[in-house]
Symmetry: C2
Subunit: 494 residues, 2 copies
Amino acid sequence: MANIELKELTKRGEDYSQWYQDLVVKADLAENSAVRGCMVIKPYGYAIWEKVQAQLDKMFKETGHVNAYFPLFIPKSFLSKEAEHVEGFAKECAVVTHHRLMKDPNGTGVVVDPSAKLEEELIVRPTSETIIWNTYRNWIRSYRDLPLLINQWANVVRWEMRTRLFLRTTEFLWQEGHTAHATKEEAEEEATRMLNVYAEFAEKYMAMPVVKGVKSANERFAGALDTFTIEALMQDGKALQSGTSHFLGQNFAKAFDVMFADKTGKMEHVWATSWGVSTRLMGALIMSHSDDNGLVLPPQLAPIQVVIVPIYKNEDQLAQITTKITPIINELKSLGISVKYDDSDNKKPGWKFAEYELKGVPVRLAMGGRDLENGTVEVVRRDTLCKETRSIENISQYIQDLLNEIQQNIYKKAFDYRTAHTITVDTYEEFKEKIEEGGFILAHWDGTTETELKIKEETKATIRCIPFDGDKTPGKCMVTGKPSAQRVLMARAY
Amino acid sequence: MANIELKELTKRGEDYSQWYQDLVVKADLAENSAVRGCMVIKPYGYAIWEKVQAQLDKMFKETGHVNAYFPLFIPKSFLSKEAEHVEGFAKECAVVTHHRLMKDPNGTGVVVDPSAKLEEELIVRPTSETIIWNTYRNWIRSYRDLPLLINQWANVVRWEMRTRLFLRTTEFLWQEGHTAHATKEEAEEEATRMLNVYAEFAEKYMAMPVVKGVKSANERFAGALDTFTIEALMQDGKALQSGTSHFLGQNFAKAFDVMFADKTGKMEHVWATSWGVSTRLMGALIMSHSDDNGLVLPPQLAPIQVVIVPIYKNEDQLAQITTKITPIINELKSLGISVKYDDSDNKKPGWKFAEYELKGVPVRLAMGGRDLENGTVEVVRRDTLCKETRSIENISQYIQDLLNEIQQNIYKKAFDYRTAHTITVDTYEEFKEKIEEGGFILAHWDGTTETELKIKEETKATIRCIPFDGDKTPGKCMVTGKPSAQRVLMARAY
């Protein structure tokens, strides 16, 4: 049983950051690779990501989008075409300069072949607006070609200096939607629609409450006129930007010369949006719900929703338990519930219990000798760790309901946590004091980048967003006393 | 109706290669991008690829595999670790040498920041054996950790000099399975199992007959002990390698020092396989079935299985047709059939017919004024272009059966074509003559690379595989007269 020791996590209260790192690695979600800043997403972690992808993809298709695929590489010159975009994205990136290796003339390995230098360097895409809008130029002729509603599932690379598994990695997986519209209004609607899709996904599937809002100018996507965001609050009181949707105006259409003939035949520049979520969501999922025993997964995204562990003295008893359990497994499966029956003989039940707790399986059933006699089963729910013994009569229906209840409860817990950690502050003094405790702070701000940067420098807090919902009462900036249109959401953030 | 002209294809008989290029572009499957050798997979093409992916993924999971994700980049030194692998893969590849751009001090654009040179260059993965086996070293300790059955869906880059959409592109999408086993036998079984999965997919879903066999030493994957392949015959008489599965022996385990303790505690090197199919399958699919009118898609992989076109004189008639058609659409959908009702008013029916033929939609229904009176519908199947008018009674069931029949018929047509174009040849003279006509040739070969290369040089034909099935009678090499164990399959190939 030495493995239980090995798998023990740092407690959240001791070192939150270490707890997160331990959990990601020990629950077999991901690990660092031999390539600086790039992660390996392990099968269990990837199975969760597949559930995330499948649900989002369904929601994108339901809102009229189709998938396509654009090149991994972007010609260097493309990045400079949109003036602001280049500032944001042409800095830390992977640059391909050569296309061949050759045997090292002075050794045994391989070296770059100097004769295979590219005429123009290629950048591994940090995001695909440029290459996609360069392509759209040939796809769009008239208003009949619009709207163009395209999404891409892809890997992207941003050369990050300080990386953390899922939260900030050099290579990450994401989806990026890139849409083209005939009017400003349509593009704005689209950007809002997709923000709402993200919010719905976060709340219904990840069980993670989010605040929807618009970014300040300083936090906007490079090249956007407006960036909409969903912001979640992690258990350590830090905010995590979980998805963004950008209204790009005509910036990329102008940079790449994408025009369309409207109904009157007049040529106009096309209006654009882009929107994305990434494997960063995995970090958000982990930090929203998990505890000192390990991962807590919402049933909607759990690769294994129910694990069943037999507790037996001998082969004969195992066979009896298996006979009893088999119809339950079949019933659960017919209800669309994913079940794992773990009758492996090389681990003791206690080890298995700890392992599935660590991996966040929402419901655990155990059946031992006494249960066999009584026609019962032990049911443990991961979110509360509450145990009960129940008759196996109608157990499948009970479990289906329980999974729904767990989904709701996890959401409620996160929602209550957020409510308890969202405060309103009126003076900068109080802000500086309260920001140390973490959480969301609603405060008045004068709308200037100058004030925003001052706050950031002095407190490490940033404006997460100007919320769409909630109190819209005007007031006075807590720093400068100048007029403020409404309170903004501030926090220290990942 | 000028668009019909625009979409006309070159005829296969005139210029097969141009026909293919036209078809890929005009049917909206893919196009060349601004980046040399990299393609854009357009939404319609990507929708087919999604169907390919979904089915293969299901089959991989049914055979016990799980998905994971490994880094895009491979440290240059990794490529040299397996002696043969480096020969095959460390040549034409994209090399990342820097991680930052900066403003051009002498101009307006951006240039590579010379101070951001990487200590060790990174290679954009051409295949992932090296980075994956470097990772497996930490995942495998004992026989209990085996087998490890992992697949990855990813993009890879091989710097090809001459590219063709789908068939050979610098960047392509694929899946690569990488498995680890305790014994040679298990690994060999796995490599065979996955070849069979590929063959089943090709035949049942792509409706494309394939020959299964083993590659000659010369055509083996770099680093493999054996490469198994499925080979298909295209309509121009050229072979297309459609999927490969490799028995890697202990080569990568030795190169990356991956050992496990067996049941007795003895340390052994792990046995490996890898296997992959790529977007090249799209090329195979297109060239197996399509004709001078455009794409012919097997119903199992068609994004739209049935298109319905109303033919109407006025809005009122359209409304009547729509009323009649709606229950049919609903019935088809409830049978799991994907349907598109194209009542757009900006294209004439004739244009729509040509468009859906070009796009390979298996079944087209049309309803006009007379059909409305008679309670009939016109049914046109894409594979034969046969037209019939049928009562709308039980039409959904009829269409479901028709889709199955089309799937079978497309397969049969390809199978018959292959049979008619597979010949047996006994002399090199005859071989040289017959190879000009295209098709598969079964001939005796002495098993040496020397002879193989001579044939290749003199005839451009290669040994596609040593088939598993069929005639195993020994004979004499057509070139050297030396003993041959069995006939091998030869062809000119893509």
